[in-house]
Symmetry: D2
Subunit: 329 residues, 4 copies
């Protein structure tokens, strides 16, 4: 039997409580920490065996503590993750782990030096539907991937600090970069801040990759359509992950362009079966937490999760620069 | 009773035949013209009272002829429209009427000098659903328009000369420019030519207008989704024109961002009724042809149709330059 | 300020726990009762201020107790409701309150004698969507109602005792009888017991009412379509309540048959706008519990809820007889 | 090379013109016949090589004529088919070929005596989607068929003579009987004549078959939903033919009830993949006409088409009796 991993969590807000519940089930929840007294007291009564504190130092100083979960406001992620790594803790940090690529590079460097796990919480990568998309691509069933695009639209939560790129796009970007498995050579964003100056409500992003693949994101919280969708156009088949569907999370269309031998140079199209494979009902958050705990036990290996998190921050940074450059002064 | 307008048509291909049928019903079809002998013979037997010829000069020389309909391949539009205007004919020319803004400016100039009608065939503007969108905007029902975007996607006809921007985008662009009624200050396009070098299959376009409104087009003939959709995000309501729907061509969502007085600076959202007004079943092509004939009878007025056609060509030219600039050498 | 109603609940199963939560919020939960020790203990720890017992007598003997909530297995509803009324308690009893019309008549008689509230838990009648349907009918907006039909289909929970008529149909039947507000003169059912002898998996019911209106129910737990839908065909408009929709729970179609004056005796059709009014998000269960507590405070009045519950049981009994008569011996 | 079949057609109405066009393409159209002068003249100019007459005798007397196509009003089908068979002609007769089972039996008897083809025009049986349903059943892929049901609803053409059973139900009934391949032991119909006395606008039919299978039809031309759908519930899988879908005419759901060995007697459910096989685009009418011409050339064989047509008329007759019996006097 394995000894349970001892985990402390800083940040007990609404998403933080989901993490708490999962870490409490899968590991030993040793500490909870928040500067908000009300939040701390309320969770302390829920998890009476965990020690509660407003001082992060208490957690960092606990030599028995294996790992720190960071679920605080975005602007503090980098700082807290750095402190935890310096204290020799494994770190699970909510996305995005940093707001600048240089910061994320520093964290990665630190994780390597200390041989600690650094895992950003890119939840969608643990969604069985997204994993099925990846599998369809990797197995070659879709043929060469040409284009991937995401639609994350809704009349939804309007943030006053993070724009639609950082609040919505981080989800789709993590999926796109994972599916394509390259870093973009071109990353352009366009958008508009309708409601609050400097906070874009609608953002369109275009990415071009070394292999020639392209990707696009349509992000908006001012939209009549509720969409959470990722489409992959392959040269042999096309696949769609639609998180608004109950039964057809994934649909594979046997549709493709087609160049008949007898008409060299002229392209036609081919349409065949449509298929929605059964996707397991597993909760992505449970799978994500489990993966982190497995890494803590097995060691960080090649730091793939952190490297990959760096790619996401780098792309976000470049898209943000493009967005700012495009905006009228 | 009005004397019927005497019309001659050059170009008898598949779309041309739809125009023929409509002009034959609503006007007097005096001439048909095509250099393809087979096409000419076949339509001559269908419209025995029209004179058939392979020589455009025959039409231009006929002083009784009021108007020329140009339905030939795109590359010839400008030249034929010019000859017709120079010969003093009114001109209906399929879209796009020219491939360069300078050419279209020349045509417009000529139409003004000769006081002749020059009308590009932007069919969608005569679609009752699109007219309803325009009406919803102009009446103020949607509130200030923030963003308009079009989706024209499908696994559809793959052209070997025109790219997706020119073959698909010309439709949505004509609608967007008409709805917003401004010329863009920024026009950027990104895309990729997957199947044939230099012919983009997938194109994304972003437009920014002087008033701050933005627009976007997602154009692709390599796509699993069949979409022909235009969405208007207003500050009070949102509206969608979906040409794939049978009964709900137009849907108005009483959804909007909302800034409660008591929480200054913090935006919430509001969701209300959803409404699909009945749209007349009128055939757009019939309405378009009728509008041209009305203009021929009443005179070109302020040349609004031609001016507007110039805006479309100008935007296409700018988007094409952007697309070329973005493409790797 | 009103004194809180003192409520005791018998039956602490999964649905019972939803009732518990709501009665605990809106009233004073004085007693909880179940013969299942495990269930009793678990809820006792959740509601420490309520007294817990396995003996219903304890509740019946408590003179301070105003009302009893019955959420036990169906076969016991009648017996428990009778005991509670005899003990002078108001009664909320889950649907169906009895399995025979004679039993329900007896309960109603008792409620009248003792002047106590007897309210069967027909939850759907408190659904804002169903209330909107009723309002559309009562306001005359749909015109004369011709036909109402329900679809309750799914590959869903397969019961081993209750058939699809009793387990699914009781919902739709309560809505149909409420909307039409008549008792049927004809009630016919057809179906088949595919999986377990005597327990019909698929049932079709036809009802004819004194006014000439008709109704139909398609009930099945062996079905590829997940449907929870009620359609009302009026002579002026048609309306649909679709509980699987997120945003369009109610849709009103301005569609109708139409008899032009000039073509006497020949019917045409008319199609107009489609409209989905915004429906409040209120939780039906909360509204239902509130209605019961209001009745307890104000008195049973004309016993409309119980009379109406009797109509449902009577129709179920007649449909069951028809189903049995139609089945091959 | 085969000699073309020589065909004559009586009845040149709107549906008749579709038959004309197809028989003209696939056979030699020798005669056209209608008592309506206008219709006769108009089609005569369209098919100048066919002889035109108002007298059926002309066709019956032509010894060179192989086959007669009957596309006249329903009430005349039986009489015209009988005359044609007596004259030794093969007969294609629109559905229903007769309005009473006794008449259809007589026609079948005659076809057997004269060794002539008698084929009723049950068009849906030649629809590639319906053929796919049949194939899914016959191959055993769906497992034992339990229930088949059809929905044919719309706000559609309101007939003044034929009710919804005869005008809409004849389509679904032909499919149901073909798929199940048994004659029903029970056939019950319920409905209502809202608009015109004696002409039911809404009809529900229930059928029970010797094997225990059941079927249902929901037929209405007063309905907000446009549905043309047939659902087959098998014990292993379920399949749907939906003629309103563009791309998913057929969908197979790998869903089923499931009895785990460890819980004998208790049924659960199983949900798996969803699959829409590609269906050929072949026009059903062309396939139907071709099948008739093949039979004319090869001989009537076991008269399967006619026998099967008799089953449809028999079921319609029984359902009509049930409908009349159920209607209040």
């Amino acid at each position: 039997m394995t000894t349970p991993v001892r985990v402390g969590q800083v940040g007990l807000g609404s998403w933080g409580r989901n993490l708490l519940r999962n870490f409490d089930e899968a590991a030993r929840l040793a500490w909870i920490c928040d500067t908000n007294e009300e939040a701390l007291r309320s969770q302390a009564s829920r998890y009476p065996t965990a020690r509660a504190t407003a001082a992060l130092e208490d957690l960092l100083a606990d030599e028995q503590l294996d790992a720190l979960v960071v679920a605080t406001p975005v602007a503090t992620h980098y700082e807290l993750a750095r402190l935890a790594l310096e204290a020799g803790k494994h770190v699970f940090v909510e996305k995005p782990p940093a707001m600048r690529a240089a910061e994320m590079e520093e964290l990665l460097e630190l994780a390597r030096e200390r041989e600690r796990v650094l895992m950003p919480g890119h939840l969608l990568l643990y969604h069985p539907g997204v994993r099925k998309l990846k599998e369809l691509i990797d197995s070659g069933e879709l043929g060469e991937v040409l284009c991937v695009y995401g639609n994350r639209q809704n009349l939804g939560v309007i943030r006053s600090h993070e724009n639609a790129l950082w609040s919505l796009g981080v989800h789709d970007l993590s999926v796109i970069l994972w599916l394509i498995d390259e870093e973009p050579v071109e990353a352009v964003a366009h958008g508009r801040d309708f409601l609050q100056p400097g906070v874009e409500d609608v953002v369109f992003c275009f990415l071009r990759f070394p292999s020639g693949k392209v990707a696009h994101m349509h992000l908006s919280w001012l939209d009549p359509h509720k969409m959470r969708k990722m489409t992959v156009v392959g040269k042999e088949k096309m696949a769609v992950f639609d998180d608004m569907e109950l039964e057809r999370k994934i649909t594979v269309y046997d549709k493709a362009p087609w160049e008949p031998a007898e008409t060299y140079g002229e392209w036609r199209t081919r349409t065949g079966d449509i298929f929605s494979p059964k996707i397991p009902n597993d909760e992505p958050l449970r799978l994500e937490v489990q993966h982190f705990l497995d890494l803590v036990r097995s060691g960080p290996g090649d730091h793939a999760e952190a490297v990959y998190g760096l790619h996401v921050v780098r792309a976000l940074e470049r898209l943000t620069e493009s967005l700012r450059a495009g905006a009228p002064a």
